[in-house]
Every structure is written in C-alpha cells, then in structure tokens.
C-alpha cells in the first residue's frame, strides 16, 4: 500500500532532506498550516485561560443575566446565570482538547497492540481478535458510547473510557493489515534468522513501521473523537452541568434558543477546533497517499 511505501521512502532519505520535504509539503498544502495555527491557538488559550480570560468561568452575576454580546464588559454576552460566555469558551478547551487526545492516544495504543498481535500471531489469535473487533464496529460509535457512559455513570472520565472502548477497533484493523504486509519483508526474515524473539520482532521491527500510518489515522480521527465527546456532553453524559464544557454549554443554550450567543459561540469553538484537526489530517493523508489528491 502506498502509505507504507511513502513512509519508508521518507525514512531512507536524510533528515535534512526530510525537513525540506516537510517545508515543501506544507507549502503545497496550506490547509495543514492553517490547521496547525488554529490548533496551536486553542492549546495556548486553554493553557493560559486563567490569565487571558476576563472573568472566572463559574462566576455568576445575577444582575448581568442573558446580556447580548458587546453589552457591558461582556464581549460574547452572558448566560442565564450571568456567567461570561467568552471566558467560559476559553476554558472549554481545557476539557475538550485533553479528552480528545486521550481517547485517540489510548485507543490507538490498544488498537496497535491488538492489531499487531492479531496480524503477527495469526491463526486462532487473529480469528478471535478480529471477531471482537468486528463486534465493536457493529455499533455506531455514539450509541455504544452512550450505553457505556450510562452504565459507568456520566462524567468526563467515563465518557473518555467509553470512547476508548469504541475507538480502538479501527486502529486494530489498520495495524493488522499493515503487519500482514510487513511480516513478509526480508528484514523480518533477517531478524528471525539471527535468532530474534517473536516479541522483539513484533515490537522492534514490525510495529515501528506501522506508526506513521497510525498517526495519519489519528489526526484524521481526532476531530471525530472531539465531536463524539462533545455529543456525549451535549446529551448530558459527559461533563458536569456547571462545567464550562462546549457541548454542555450548547445543550444549556437550547433552552435559551433566542439568546443565540449562548449556543453559537461554544458551538463555533468545537467546529473550529475539529475543522483545524480535519485540515491537518486531510493534508497529511494527501501527503501520505498522493493518489487521493
């Protein structure tokens, strides 16, 4: 497959050449650059929210309830308890970004291990692990995640756990396919002929070659993970009711439909972050697999 062949060709060239490649590809795919900028923006805002935000995210002010944007000192208006929307949106990234990244990272680690074992061990292990994978993929993501979160009890940690359970199978599938392909390469035979153990071969010679395609899938996927997490929160299965989490803020905003700033700003925050990740993922995939361009 061309993803693995492209990455191995990058591996062969020197790092200086690589840097040049990266710069060239960024110039060819300006969307990747835009995406990187937006993600950096949100990460910085989330880290320095305490310094940057004009108000405390939980600070209520009964006299300033439901102010429209720009009125008073509230750039994006206030909500039904007089909390500053602008500040709350700034804090929102603190929940969403780590949640999305944890889902993808933990999910991909589990998936890579499962897929690696299935592909390398083959036989009955492959059969069992892949049937389990298919089983989990038979449920639409948010449905299974809803059931799991409902069972574990609704909070952010459990929402992340639920999403991990839902997320690992696609990585297992991807990596299994790659391992089956890589397994027959000469350097794997070479490692075996010098007496390397199965574990060594899998972890040191095969799996490192699966990392690059997995990373492409991760960047393509993280937007989706964030959307699903926000969806769970929106349904009341994620964050605490009072917490400045974007999905939850939109859900509260529905009851105040005419006060559009209550749902539009946090909603736009989710969209911009997801869009940025999609720009990066899309660009990375184009670079890895130029046929799709």
């Amino acid at each position: 497959m061309s993803i693995s062949s492209t990455t191995s060709s990058i591996r062969e060239s020197g790092w200086r050449e690589q840097l040049h490649q990266i710069r060239y590809q960024l110039w060819r795919n300006p969307l990747v650059l835009i995406g990187l900028l937006i993600v950096t923006f949100w990460v910085v805002v989330a880290i320095f929210a305490m310094v940057l935000s004009p108000y405390e995210p939980l600070q209520q002010n009964v006299n300033d309830r439901l102010l429209s944007p720009g009125s008073g000192d509230h750039l994006w208006g206030t909500d039904e308890l007089g909390r500053d929307i602008f500040s709350r949106v700034m804090y929102g990234g603190r929940i969403t970004i780590p949640a999305g990244i944890s889902v993808i990272v933990i999910g991909s680690v589990i998936g890579i291990l499962m897929g690696g074992i299935a592909g390398y061990a083959g036989g009955i292990w492959d059969e069992i692990l892949m049937r389990i994978t298919e089983l989990f993929m038979a449920f639409p993501t948010i449905i299974l995640a809803m059931a799991i979160t409902a069972a574990l009890g609704p909070d952010i940690r459990n929402a992340v756990i639920a999403l991990v359970v839902v997320w690992w199978p696609s990585y297992a599938r991807l990596v299994r396919g790659l391992v089956l392909e890589i397994k027959n390469n000469e350097y794997v035979d070479a490692a075996r002929s010098v007496g390397a153990s199965g574990t060594y071969i899998l972890f040191r010679t095969i799996l490192p070659n699966c990392v690059a395609p997995a990373i492409v899938l991760m960047t393509l996927d993280i937007g989706n993970a964030i959307l699903t997490f926000a969806g769970l929160s929106f349904l009341g299965l994620g964050s605490e009711p009072t917490s400045p989490e974007w999905g939850r803020m939109v859900a509260i905003g529905i009851d105040y439909f005419d006060q559009w700033w209550m749902w539009l700003f946090p909603g736009a925050a989710i969209a911009s972050l997801v869009m940025a990740f999609n720009f990066i993922g899309d660009g990375l995939r184009d670079i890895a697999d130029p046929r799709l361009r």
């Binding site: 969307l31 049937r131 298919e134 089983l135 989990f136 038979a138 449920f139 639409p140 993501t141 948010i142 449905i143 299974l144 809803m146 059931a147 799991i148 979160t149 409902a150 069972a151 574990l152 009890g153 609704p154 937007g223 959307l227 926000a230 969806g231 929106f234 349904l235 009341g236 299965l237 999905g247 939109v250 859900a251 905003g253 529905i254 439909f257 005419d258 559009w260 749902w263 539009l264 909603g267 736009a268 989710i270 969209a271 911009s272 997801v274 869009m275 999609n278 720009f279 899309d282 046929r291 799709l292």
Partner: protein, 339 residues
C-alpha cells in the same frame, strides 16, 4: 458463485455477529458499577428491603449473570425485550411506537445525503483542482467539522425562526392530528388517507432535520465519490469512450460512475451507522419522537432494558444495512460472480 451461496456465506458471517451484539449489550448493562436500583427507585424507599427485593425479583436482578443472559436471549427470541423502567411499558412496544419516526427521518436523510454527496463528489472530481473543486472540498471539510447539534440549531434559527420557510421541532403541528396508522410514516399515511394538509405539514417538518442529517453524511459520501471517480477517470477505457465520440456526460455516467460506485456503496452502508448515531442528537433537538430520542432518555435515566433494546436494535439495523450492501456488491461487481 451463485447468489444463494453468496447470501448464505454472508449470513454465516452475520449470525455470530448478531449473537455477539447481544452479549456486548448484556455485558454493558450488567457488569457495571451503576446500580439500577439506585437509579430507578425513589430515595425514600431505598431502605425498605421489601420494595427493593420485589424490584430485584421483578427485573431478574438476583440471578447469576449467565442465567440472566440466557433468560434474556430466550425472551428476545420471543420478541420480549423486557420492560422499560422509565416508561413502564414493554421495550418492544416502545420501539414499535418510536421506530417509524426514525425510519422516516433516516430514509429521507440518506437520500438527501446521497444526492448531495454524489453530485458534489462528481463535480469535484470532473473539475479536479479547479476553484469549484476547492470550494466543494473545503465546504465538505467544514461541514463535517460542525457538530450536528450546532448545525441543527443554526438551521432552526435561520430557516425556521428567522425566515419561517420550514416548520420547527416535532413531526406535526401541535393542533394537527396524526394520520391513521398504516405504516407509521406520517408522509405515506397521510397520503393514503388523502389528507393533503397533514401531508404538507409532515413534509415541512421533515425538511430541516433530514437536511441536517443528510448533509452530515453528504460530506463523507462526496469525499469518497471524488477520490473513487478520480481513480477511475485515469483508466484507458475512459479515453477509449471519449475517442469513440461519446458525450462527456455519458462517459462519466456510464463508464466513470458505474465503476466508481463500489466504494461509494460501501461508504453508504458505513455512513448509515453515522446517520443513526446523528439521529440521536438531531432527534433530541427536533423533539422528533424516534428511537434516537428514546435512547437518549433511557441513557440519562439508566433505563437499562431500554438502552439494551435500542442499542441492540440499532446495531442490528446497521448490520442488516451492511448485509444488504454486501448483496448489492454481487450485482455491482461482476468479479464476485466469477470468483
């Protein structure tokens, strides 16, 4: 391979999957810390052992898990999914009541998504690397980035509240009476009963949610159509078709699209899952009385019989749709027939 053998082979693959789905739903509902007793009985009776005991017995909570599962499967085969703790009605009755609304919504949505997705994908591929291509691709990327619930709110606020072009939440107006039930799909039932006013009302209520759900999957379909068609356009037979003087439209339609459709059909099957998932969010915003909203209510009140029933049903539908897609391959891809 004959069609019968092919279907049989696929079925052999599907049946264990369906059994597995029941196991997964059962495990989730049972191997969890959340105690349905705490969730479903009022605080003041939790200390009353008699009421708690009766509740345990009624829902079979005092038996070992394996026995519980076998009982559950036995009941399931007889069409009994247990009683919803929240609505106090059999889950199967609830599903029967709510499913038609979801079927109506998702069918219209997948058609909307398909028409939008395929046409944008084709335009984008045929005009590759032109300004149209870029606009379509960026629109698709932005579209899939918006949470479906935010799109729904924006749509409601502009098309319904501001412009008044379409009806708002619900399947019908408050005052309107549902047409006599034949299929449960209001659009078809109202036509069968000859109630034009109700039909127009039902359609007006369908437009916005199906547009939102449809565009939710259109982005993915457009992307796949584009890349698949781009690959096909490169083949020699495309040039042959042009060189024999065929009109460009027919070249694309007959030789291009028909060969590019296989991945698109796959993705339709897969995005049907997305659609059902999106339906949970859209239905809860549009007060659409379907199984998505039912699932939402069940999961926030830890109504496990209902959660199990609906998630199983949705997984079954998803598997069934993909089964149909597999059967479609048989007709779309002649290679399967010879293999």
């Amino acid at each position: 391979m004959s069609l019968q053998v092919y279907i049989l082979r696929r079925l052999l693959f599907v049946i264990p999957l369906l059994l597995g789905i029941t196991v997964v739903s059962f495990l989730i509902a049972n191997a969890v810390p959340a105690d349905p007793i705490n969730a479903n009985l009022p605080q003041n009776v939790l200390n009353d052992p008699e009421i708690v005991g009766a509740f345990r017995e009624k829902w079979g909570l005092d038996k070992p898990p394996v026995e519980q599962y076998l009982t559950y499967i036995g009941n399931l085969l007889r069409g009994d999914m247990g009683m919803s703790i929240k609505t106090r009605k059999p889950v199967i009755d609830d599903i029967r009541q709510f499913l038609p609304a979801t079927i109506e919504l998702s069918t219209v949505s997948i058609i909307v998504g398909l028409v939008m997705g395929v046409s944008f994908g084709v335009i984008s591929a045929v005009r590759q690397n032109t300004i149209i291509d870029y606009v379509v691709r960026i629109f698709a990327l932005v579209g899939v980035s918006f949470p479906v619930f935010v799109l729904a709110l924006i749509g409601l606020s502009i098309l319904h509240a501001q412009l008044g072009w379409v009806a708002g939440p619900g399947r019908l107006n408050f005052v309107a009476k549902a047409p006599p039930t034949v299929t449960g799909l209001f659009t078809i039932d109202s036509l069968l009963a000859g109630q034009w006013e109700t039909f127009r009302d039902a359609v007006s209520h369908l437009v916005l949610p199906s547009l939102i759900l449809g565009s939710y999957v259109a982005g993915i379909i457009a992307r796949i159509t584009r890349s698949s068609l781009l690959e096909v356009l490169r083949f020699d037979y495309m040039r042959t078709a042009r060189s024999k003087g065929m009109r460009e439209f027919w070249v694309i339609w007959r030789h291009g699209l028909s060969n590019a459709m296989i991945p698109v059909v796959t993705i339709i099957g897969l995005s049907y899952g997305n659609l059902l998932a999106g339906a949970v969010l859209v239905e809860s915003i549009f007060a659409w009385p379907g199984i998505g909203r039912y699932m939402f209510r069940a999961s926030t009140s830890q109504d496990f019989p209902a959660i199990m029933g609906v998630s199983m049903l949705i997984a079954f539908i998803y598997v069934a749709v993909n089964f149909i897609v597999d059967i479609l391959y048989y007709f779309l891809d002649p290679r399967i027939r010879v293999a």
